[in-house]
């Protein structure tokens, strides 16, 4: 099954003529994702080197191609508008890679997006991949193999590190979803866990968390109250000092809360195994899958 993206995904790349958009559109196509169009306002009418048609607007792109998803490689100052445009065009799924969107924009966009029945992943996300089916984002496809473990993470390269360990040990992934490193995101840990809960192909979920916010603690509550899939976790930032933003806008311990220690404690109290190192996830997953 996988969640949110699969062989039926028809993808539009917003910002396709920019450096990142162009490069990653090619990478996603090479992976086998159905990239059906691209949008850059003012540059519509031509095609990319790979033959992908370029449109001036999301509305045009969706009308012409029947797209049901979009991915955004657009600078932070324009990305909020790109998200709203995609939602308004009715794509259903929007994946925003862009880092640096003002938090208050996200606060204002979420109701707009929800009203239109759109699922937003990100921003500041590496994207989402269902191995063997579709890659929507910047992750290296070749480290992923198909299998029964769902992965949800706030991070990019840390996810790749963990997925690489899993794949090298024959533990494949149903879908890997990067919810992003910002404090306010379209799909949070709890939303992602709900998607995996309903997915028949996912037997276990690896949760990669980090300092800041209370998503992990809320997830622990969910697990305590009977979550239908097995869980293993890794939490980054045990050594992060308080009050400092650790790269991600959302990775900050404020007012003494949101520490890695608290999150790990919450998981352990819910009976969830938390690996001590990224490589340790393999053992944790093997144990829970027995």
């Amino acid at each position: 099954m996988s969640i949110l993206v699969d062989k039926s995904t028809r993808l539009v790349v917003q910002g396709i003529t920019g450096r990142d958009g162009a490069f990653h559109a090619g990478q996603m196509l090479a992976y086998g994702t159905k990239v059906v169009g691209g949008v850059t306002p003012g540059k519509g009418g031509g095609k990319t080197d790979d033959g992908v048609p370029i449109f001036d607007s999301m509305m045009d792109a969706v009308e012409e191609t029947g797209a049901n998803a979009s991915v955004i490689y657009v600078p932070a100052s324009f990305a909020s508008d790109a998200i709203c445009e995609a939602a308004d065009a009715g794509v259903g799924l929007v994946v925003c890679i862009t880092e640096g969107i003002p938090v208050n924009d996200m606060v204002r966009i979420l109701p707009y997006v929800r009203e239109r029945g759109t699922v937003l992943i990100g921003p500041n996300s590496p994207g989402i991949i269902s191995p063997g089916k579709a890659k929507v984002g910047i992750m290296p496809g070749h480290i992923h193999i198909e299998g029964p473990v769902g992965v949800v993470s706030r991070s990019g390269t840390l996810t790749y590190e963990i997925v690489d360990h899993l794949s090298k040990n024959g533990i494949g992934q149903s879908t890997c979803i990067g919810i992003g490193g910002d404090p306010v995101v379209g799909t949070n840990l709890l939303d992602a866990l709900d998607y995996f809960a309903d997915d028949a192909e996912t037997e276990a979920v690896v949760l990669i968390g980090e300092i800041g916010g209370s998503d992990e603690e809320d997830a622990a509550d969910k697990f305590k109250n009977g979550y239908p899939k097995k869980i293993a976790a890794f939490i980054a930032g045990r050594t992060a000092p308080p009050g400092k933003r650790m790269g991600h806008a959302g990775a900050i311990v404020t007012g003494g809360t949101g520490t890695a220690a608290e999150k790990i404690e919450a998981f352990e109290a819910a009976g969830i195994e938390v690996a001590r190192t990224p490589a340790g996830i393999v053992e944790a997953v093997s144990r829970i899958m027995e």
Binding site: A76, L158, R245, M246, G247, A249, A251
Partner: protein
Amino acid sequence: MKLHEADARNIFERYALPVPPSRIVDSPEQAGKAAGDLGCPVVVKAQVLVGGRGKAGGVKLASSPEEAAEKAEAILGMDIKGLKVKKVLIARAVDISHEFYAGIVVDRRSRKPLMMVSPAGGIDIEEVARTSPEKILKTVIDPVWGPLPFQLRAMTAFLTDDKEVAKQIGRALSSLYRAFMGIDASLAEINPLVLSPDGKVWAIDAKINIDDNSLFRQKETASLRDESAEDASEVEARANDLSFVKLDGNIGCIVNGAGLAMATMDMIKHYGAEPANFLDIGGSSNPQKVMTALRIILRDRNVKSILINIFGGITRCDDVASGIVSANDELGIDIPIVVRLTGTNEEKGKEILSGTVLTPAASMDDGVRMAIEAGGG
């Protein structure tokens, strides 16, 4: 980005909050003059970007211009929690019959602004949250409307029975919200919001943190940044598009990706050593960035070895390796550097590193262990 109280007060004033008049000065003479112009008594307040100024002796009442100058002299140059006081605020003092708290943050759980009010103002709100949470009323605000009148009624009722006072507080809360959204704050706080014996409400302190992501469209506010209050290396890193946080240990690390960088620091500690820093070099294999990163880390005399931990993915390992080699050549580094490269063209990357003094590691675990050993265990 943190703002000084003086700048936050100016912003609050622009949004029609009742802020007592004040002036910012940097000498005792100017302090005396300001006190004379504003009318005594005044408060002399250290302008440093930390909390607990009062406890540290950085906030003093003065009943005459001479006394204001004296207090200013004592406070200027003071070290408060590692920061030197370079300026003081002279503000007209207000008699206080009650202190309230009012603040706004973005609540991550509801993904909306959250307004907090408390009748226990003038003290550390985190302390109140810990010991008497029932004294804080939290209200989620709809971003389309801002605080609705029924919400303002509930918040003011939580603080006072007096209708006139409630009106003033209600206006202040609306203004605080408009300021919060208008300047893209991540935190906007008035602690304390006070009631005077004459029935007037005043905002006698102001704290604003600006969302770093919004600085591109808050240019005027962005220019208020006080870099002298920040670690010089962190300032340089930011200017070069690197994320850097200095720590106390002696194993330096350069990593691509914030989560992986945190996990690398954690792993260093897990294997018994202490990380010297957090450094996220981002997604590019640009040699200039590698050079800047190495230069920043090497400034720290405590650093005994450096681990470069790259999960290449789409970034090419041969590009990264070339960048590291030229950076190392140019900077003439004499401490051990361990390099872990995984991903596209990793074999080519390892080839480039072989024959140099850079030590290749096959995995993140190996890399961390080798860096610790090379740093003297």
